[in-house]
């Protein structure tokens, strides 16, 4: 087997050194009944070419966005990723390194994380950020838990614009840990509705902007009201590129900002791995979940970086840790930070602007179709439209025509608002794509 360096001679010699007669001697502690003598009922080893052929077989049964006008967003976004980003994350030294617990031989990863944390803090308008969470939704759940820790309260209110997957993940993950999650009815432009549920037991409210319907919301007023009640404002985003153009939550009073970083440098990959971003105020630093890289000096006084404040973490604090997270999204964060470095302010702003323009073009094109109504009042690169037929049926009919034309809101939230279609446009869409989509939608609706 090409990955196994021991030869039969090696094995014999090594057993000799150990003083064992056969490999079975090393498994003596396993109960006899649980020892399998034969092979598991699965195919035998295959060569590279065969495995590649099989994988190609799976790939061919999918419709790649490279081969279809593509307008799906709703939490994951198709953007161009510079080839150099993939080159870097394939470097042996980043790809095949472990968590940087030995800082003397992990400065590459550690400096990258330190830069990543700084970029995320700047992007969100916050003071500090961690080294990543699994994805935006688990970051959201962790934010709810952190708010409960900080405020020592248990109620967390979710807006009607929060991505239903985020709401559900938060309920699953934080709910089990004593946090009481209060849901709101779906609302296209109702982030401020959370204030109606606000009370003195509230640890935090969670709002999203742009929300799952694409709506952008001004948060200052919400923040004020929330703070007045001693609660925290958790602001969520799923489209990191939006922060190149719209006011960041940190500038509008949010206490914790969490979001999905996939848009910057990470492939769509059918939903994962992605990278959860988590930023907050310095004063809450010691309540953050996840890893943190910090600056220090070495024995020669030279600057270096280490993982720090680990007394928050499970490997030190065990049952009292701020989170059980261990493995995070390191390599996706590496991709994010490199892509962000390539973009810089200039690139990100322009990228954001292009996304917005494409979305405006798309809104104009779809809005012009009779029976279709653009529902989102203010948006970045995605918005909701009302369709005269059921949205899930529309999506299927478009797919039959080779167009990946958004996602039905009802798919995200079991049956709700079943005439609402969520669509998204990015810099990857051409004018022809938009025309093709509009044309097909017209057909499908007629």
């Amino acid at each position: 087997m090409r990955y196994l360096p021991l030869t039969p001679d090696d094995r014999r010699a090594m057993l000799g050194v150990i003083g064992a007669k056969s490999i079975d001697d090393l498994y003596v502690d396993v109960p006899k009944a649980a020892q399998r003598s034969g092979l598991v009922d699965l195919p035998r080893a295959q060569g590279e070419a065969e495995v590649e052929r099989a994988m190609r077989g799976y790939a061919k049964k999918n419709l790649s966005p490279a081969n279809a006008p593509f307008f799906i967003g709703a939490g994951a976004y198709r953007h161009h990723i510079p080839a150099s980003v993939d080159h870097i994350i394939q470097r042996s030294e980043f790809l095949t390194a472990y968590t940087p617990y030995q800082p003397e031989i992990a400065q590459g990863t550690l400096q990258s994380i330190f830069e990543f944390q700084t970029q995320v803090a700047i992007l969100t308008g916050m003071e500090v950020a961690n080294a990543s969470m699994y994805d935006g939704s688990t970051a959201c759940a962790e934010a709810a838990l952190m708010a409960a820790r900080v405020t020592k309260r248990s109620k967390v209110i979710l807006s009607g614009g929060l991505h239903p997957h985020y709401a559900e993940t938060t309920k699953t993950m934080a709910g089990a840990n004593g946090v009481v999650l209060i849901d709101s009815a779906p609302a296209i432009d109702g982030e401020a509705e959370v204030l109606k549920l606000l009370d003195g037991d509230t640890a935090a409210v969670i709002v999203q902007s742009p929300n799952v319907f694409g709506t952008i919301t001004e948060l200052n007023k919400i923040a004020e009201a929330v703070h007045a009640r001693g609660a925290l404002l958790i602001a969520v985003f799923t489209e990191a590129v939006s922060l190149g153009l719209i006011e960041p939550p940190g500038a509008m009073g949010a206490d914790i900002v969490v979001g999905e970083g996939q848009s910057i440098g990470v492939a769509l990959s059918f939903g994962g791995p992605y990278v959860g971003l988590f930023a907050t105020r310095e004063k809450f630093m010691r309540q953050m979940p996840g890893r943190l890289a910090g600056e220090t000096v070495d024995a020669d006084g030279k600057r270096g970086f280490v993982l720090t404040l680990s007394t928050r973490e499970q490997h030190i604090r065990r049952a009292k840790a701020t989170s059980n997270i261990c493995t995070n999204s390191g390599l996706c964060a590496q991709a994010f930070t490199m892509h962000m470095t390539l973009l810089g302010r200039k690139g990100l702003e322009r990228l954001a602007l292009l996304n917005h323009e494409k979305a405006c073009d798309l809104a104009d094109a779809l809005g012009a179709i009779s029976g279709v109504e653009v529902l989102t009042p203010r948006f970045f690169n995605e918005f909701a439209v009302r369709t005269p037929k059921k949205a899930d049926a529309v999506v299927e009919a478009l797919a039959k025509r080779g167009i990946l034309g958004g996602v039905a809101y009802s798919r995200l939230k079991g049956g709700a608002m079943d005439d609402v279609l969520l669509v998204c446009a990015t810099e990857t869409n051409t004018d022809e794509d938009i025309a093709a989509f509009a044309g097909a939608l017209k057909e499908v609706l007629s």
Binding site: Y3, P5, L6, D10, R11, G19, A20, L26, R36, R44, Q46, V51, Y58, K60, R78, I89, S92, E93, T96, A97, Y98, Q102, I105, G108, T109, S112, E115, A121, Y134, D135, T138, E168, T169, M173, A176, N177, I216, I246, E247, A267, L268, S269, G271, G272, P273, V275, G294, E295, T296, D298, G304, T311, Q314, A321, I325, L331, L342, R345, D361, A399
Partner: protein, 511 residues
């Protein structure tokens, strides 16, 4: 430090500042079409203050990260013997297939009709995992091992509630040797954690366990092979005792590599077990992640597996995404770590049933070989005597008693290994022995590499015993930076670059 340089670089090792310190005007490494600037539906919510994010052109960015990368150790450079981490070779075939058009670029919310291949791949992976473990159900979506633990413990919690015992069974047992994520997870699910004792041979003390069992016990969280690198001989008895007491058996499968293809957790009474695809099935660690932590379930817990699930109707696959039956809610935004599923499946298919069994056997053989070679020079609390080899599984545990009186500590041994070109072993874990050194070579090390590593470690141990503590405290000397001041980092936390508090970049560059 024998010679200073003007540039700050030393031979091939390039000095490199932070991106925030790279002076010069504003740059970018992407070219994008000029926006037309005509339309605006932002409703006045444009960013007010300009973003203060630095940009680099592509040549600068490329160098920045390539230079940084060369300060990292990696599996591709040498033995990475971190116990409990299973740092094995990462085949590049898996990287290639994960990036294929139609796999790496599909959206999680595409209509099912356009992702039949992706769903079939997930089903194939599920099939491999269930066959290998002998368990009847699997949830793929957990994003890493700890997330898998959460998934499993939530299912247990749900099962208890379904039985009407959700409010009464709140205690979770776990050995002192367990990984930190175990108690952390139990706590995150609202359980209290109760630690059980270990026997002198590194296994669970059945008496301690029996004493702790009771009607308020929800589950035991047990790692097997355990974090001392030992197989829990009494695992069946443990399972039976826990089940008899009305609890469930959560198995931490982080060490599954030692038994894959040879022993099936399903034959050991396990109710739920996560599998770290980034350990046993070799998806790359990537400097900390991402991973994937699918959970296999017993019949008892299967109904409580989380959403989404894959269902088949008339030969067509689809996700069941919304609440049904007793399913636990969603654990993440979409359906988990597809990128890891592809890699893990490619790894499994490459090895096959025969190769996977060989993986386990070679991993165990390599660990025992190191144990046998190192035992005479170090102290192996569970390794047997000079004349008798007590086998370990995939990793060999040493304590620091051989260092008694030398002034050298476990962490000094680790730093000395760095100078020898090695990543240190896991230190001070598990907590059951003093100054633990946990060495897991994995099956992808050749005998020659193991010998070279053992020789280096033996030389270090001999040097320590010969009394050269000062030299040990000075190590490492040959790494890009020397020992770093952890205390300072924690006392005066500097978690991001800030213009005001930044070191003088000129000085930094010349460092």
């Amino acid at each position: 430090m024998s010679q200073a340089s003007v540039s700050g670089s030393r031979g091939l090792l390039q000095a490199e500042p932070l991106i925030f310190e790279m002076l010069g005007g504003e740059r970018t490494g992407v070219d994008l079409p000029e926006p037309k600037g005509l339309k605006d539906r932002l409703g006045g919510l444009k960013r007010k203050a300009a973003l203060d994010l630095p940009g680099l052109t592509e040549p600068e960015a490329m160098r920045h990260y390539v230079r940084l990368s060369q300060r990292n150790y990696a599996i591709d450079l040498g033995v990475f013997p971190l116990g409990s981490c299973t740092m094995k070779h990462n085949p590049r075939l898996n990287e290639k297939v994960a990036r294929m058009e139609g796999l790496g670029d599909i959206h999680p919310l595409q209509p099912a009709s356009t992702v039949q291949g992706a769903l079939a791949l997930m089903e194939a992976l599920s099939h491999w995992l269930m066959e290998l473990t002998g368990m009847p159900a699997v949830a793929l979506s957990p994003k890493a091992g700890a997330h898998g633990e959460l998934c499993g413990m939530l299912a247990i919690r749900a099962a208890l509630y379904a039985r009407g015992e959700g409010e009464t069974r709140k205690r979770v047992l776990t050995p002192i040797s367990s990984h930190g994520t175990n108690p952390a997870t139990a706590a995150a699910c609202g359980f209290t954690v109760d630690e059980i004792e270990a026997l002198p041979d590194g296994r669970v003390d059945l008496n301690s366990l029996t004493a702790k069992l009771g009607p308020d016990v929800a589950a035991i969280m047990l790692t097997n092979p355990n974090t001392c690198g030992l197989f829990e001989r009494d695992v069946k008895e443990i399972a039976d005792l826990v089940h008899a007491a009305g609890g469930y058996f959560y198995c931490d499968g982080a060490n599954y590599n030692a038994i894959v293809g040879r022993v099936r957790p399903g034959d050991l009474g396990v109710d739920a077990m996560h599998i770290n695809l980034h350990k046993t099935f070799s998806t790359p660690h990537g400097g900390g992640g991402p991973g994937a932590g699918p959970v296999v379930f017993s019949e008892a817990l299967a109904p409580f597996a989380p959403l989404p699930r894959i269902i088949e109707r008339d030969g067509v696959l689809a996700f069941e995404e919304h609440a049904f039956g007793e399913a636990t809610g969603r654990l993440c935004a979409f359906q988990g770590q597809m990128g890891m599923y592809i890699r893990a499946l490619a790894y499994m298919m490459s090895h096959g049933s025969d190769g996977l069994r060989q993986v386990a056997e070679d991993a165990v053989l390599n660990a025992n070989y190191l144990l046998a070679r190192l035992k005479p020079y170090m102290s192996a609390p569970f390794g047997g005597s000079k004349d008798e080899h007590w086998p370990c599984m995939h990793e060999a545990l040493f304590d620091d008693s051989f260092l008694d009186g030398t002034g050298v500590e476990t962490s000094d041994i680790a730093k000395a290994l760095i100078d020898e070109g090695y990543h240190p072993m896991t230190m001070y874990f598990p907590l059951v022995v003093h100054g633990a050194m946990l060495i897991e070579p994995t099956e992808t090390e050749s005998k020659a590499e193991l010998d070279r590593f053992a020789n280096a470690l033996i030389a270090i141990a001999e040097r320590a015993k010969a009394g050269d503590a000062a030299a040990f405290k000075a190590a490492p000397l040959l790494s890009p930076v020397r020992r770093l001041d952890d205390t300072r980092a924690a006392r005066q936390p500097k978690l991001r670059w800030k213009a005001e508090t930044a070191a003088d970049p000129a000085r930094v560059a010349a460092e």
